[in-house]
């Protein structure tokens, strides 16, 4: 490295966070490049959320839907929360809407934890190498959604109940079933 030369990479400084705030204001006024910067800052988180909540082969399409929807709804963002939080909520709504539209309750998973047996049997490898995300993806739909929203994304049961149209008690019960199934998976 020569005199005064420094290689700069992205970091999470306060200034960077608020560069995002400025980018939101720019994108709200129609600046596509600012919106692209926002996309690049958030796409990993959003894509991961979508991939876990839906089938992997739908993740790219739905992630695109999320950002298109965000562009359309950006004028409603008032800065009361972080942009990432707002976008994340929007993504959850898009995912749940997609599930509803597709009628995702396709009976591909039953309420027991036998799908996790399938994972272990198929992999035939020591438990520590079995992919946790794959096991998660084989949970019954209801408990998987609740588990993801609660334990991965940090939603409260009351919020989950509202999002999924269930009661908080059902959310707690589904969460427990998901954890118990995954516990057995980790214990193998």
């Amino acid at each position: 490295m020569g005199l005064g030369v420094l290689t700069l990479t992205t970091d999470k400084t306060t200034a960077a966070t608020d560069a995002e705030t400025a980018d939101v204001a720019l994108a709200q006024s129609g600046d596509g490049r600012a919106f692209e910067r926002l996309y690049r800052g958030q796409v990993s988180r959003i894509h991961s959320l979508v991939r876990r909540m839906l089938d992997s082969d739908e993740a790219d399409d739905v992630t695109q839907d999320v950002f298109v929807r965000a562009w359309e709804k950006l004028y409603t963002f008032r800065g009361e929360s972080a942009f990432g939080t707002w976008l994340h909520r929007l993504a959850v709504n898009v995912v749940l809407g997609r599930r509803k539209a597709l009628g995702t309750e396709r009976g591909r998973r039953s309420a027991d934890d036998s799908p996790l047996e399938t994972v272990a049997a198929r992999n035939q490898v020591p438990e520590h190498t079995v992919d946790f995300e794959e096991a998660l993806g084989r949970l019954p739909d209801g408990s998987r959604q609740v588990f993801l929203l609660h334990d991965v994304e940090g939603y409260r049961h009351e919020e989950i109940a509202k999002l999924l149209g269930i009661v908080a008690g059902t959310s707690k019960s589904q969460l427990h079933h998901a954890r118990m199934a995954l516990r057995k998976h980790l214990d193998r």
Binding site: G2, L3, G4, V5, L6, T7, L8, T9, T13, T14, A15, A16, D18, A19, T21, A22, D23, V24, A25, L26, Q28, S29, G30, D31, G32, R33, A34, F35, E36, Y39, V43, S44, R45, H47, S48, R51, R52, A59, D60, T63, Q64, F67, V68, W71, E72, L74, Y75, R78, G79, F132, D151, V152, H157, K172, H176, R179, M180, L182, R183, L186
Partner: protein, 225 residues
């Protein structure tokens, strides 16, 4: 393995039981090895869930998004994206870049204050009404102040230890002052025309560039002190 407490272990783990039930279950855990082991397993699941890492999509989804919302992904955008991944700057380059930014910002603010404006130039598509300054300005101003304070501290340290020369420090300070002057001009213009999409856009853009400048300057100042 199941007893009357098994189904309550998640609620216990999440701190959602009432005081009496919590105490009863805590007492039960002292006596029931199986429930204690189950609780430990549940805790491991939660820890594992919270440690899941986000991964980007395997292909770049931006071109598809840009197409759907009517934005062109022209050659310039592609080239700019490639460049943005890594930057190398020398101090003189940084100073030169900041001067260009400053000149552009000040000039645009001057035009905004005195000349005719066109909102269409900054709106590729009509998606939203002009953002209200009050919604983002206070937060951005506050963190801008913090970043400036950090930079000035780093510059002072560099100057004191002799690792940054006076000319470099003075140039960066000057650049910062001119950027702030441009922001002040744009803010004044916006106060007299708060509904202007152009001025909102210009001010937000100047702030974003200021943050870029501060981040780079802080890196350089910190690395050299």
């Amino acid at each position: 393995m199941s007893d009357r407490w098994t189904d309550r272990l998640s609620e216990y783990l999440d701190g959602e039981l009432g005081e009496r039930e919590r105490a009863e279950l805590a007492a039960h855990l002292n006596a029931c090895v199986e429930c204690a082991a189950t609780l430990s397993g549940l805790r491991r699941v939660v820890t594992r869930a919270q440690a899941l890492e986000d991964r980007p999509p395997s292909t770049d989804l931006w071109p598809g998004i840009a197409g759907r919302i009517g934005l062109a992904t022209d050659e310039f955008t592609v080239r700019r994206r490639t460049r943005e991944r890594r930057f190398s700057f020398t101090v003189p380059q940084l100073i030169a870049a900041s001067i260009v930014l400053v000149a552009a910002s000040a000039g645009t603010a001057w035009l905004a204050l005195r000349g005719p404006r066109s909102d269409t130039a900054v709106r590729p598509t009509q998606v939203a009404p002009a953002p209200q300054l009050a919604t983002w300005m206070p937060k951005v101003e506050k963190s801008s102040d913090i970043a400036v304070f950090e930079l000035r501290s780093a510059l002072a340290d560099g100057k004191r230890t002799g690792r940054l020369d006076s000319l470099t420090v003075a140039s960066l300070e000057h650049s910062l002052a001119v950027i702030d002057s441009a922001i002040a001009q744009a803010t004044r213009a916006l106060e007299s025309d708060p509904g202007s999409a152009y001025l909102n856009h210009h001010l937000a853009d100047t702030y974003r560039r200021k943050f870029d400048f501060l981040r780079q300057a802080n890196r350089i100042a910190s690395a050299r002190t």
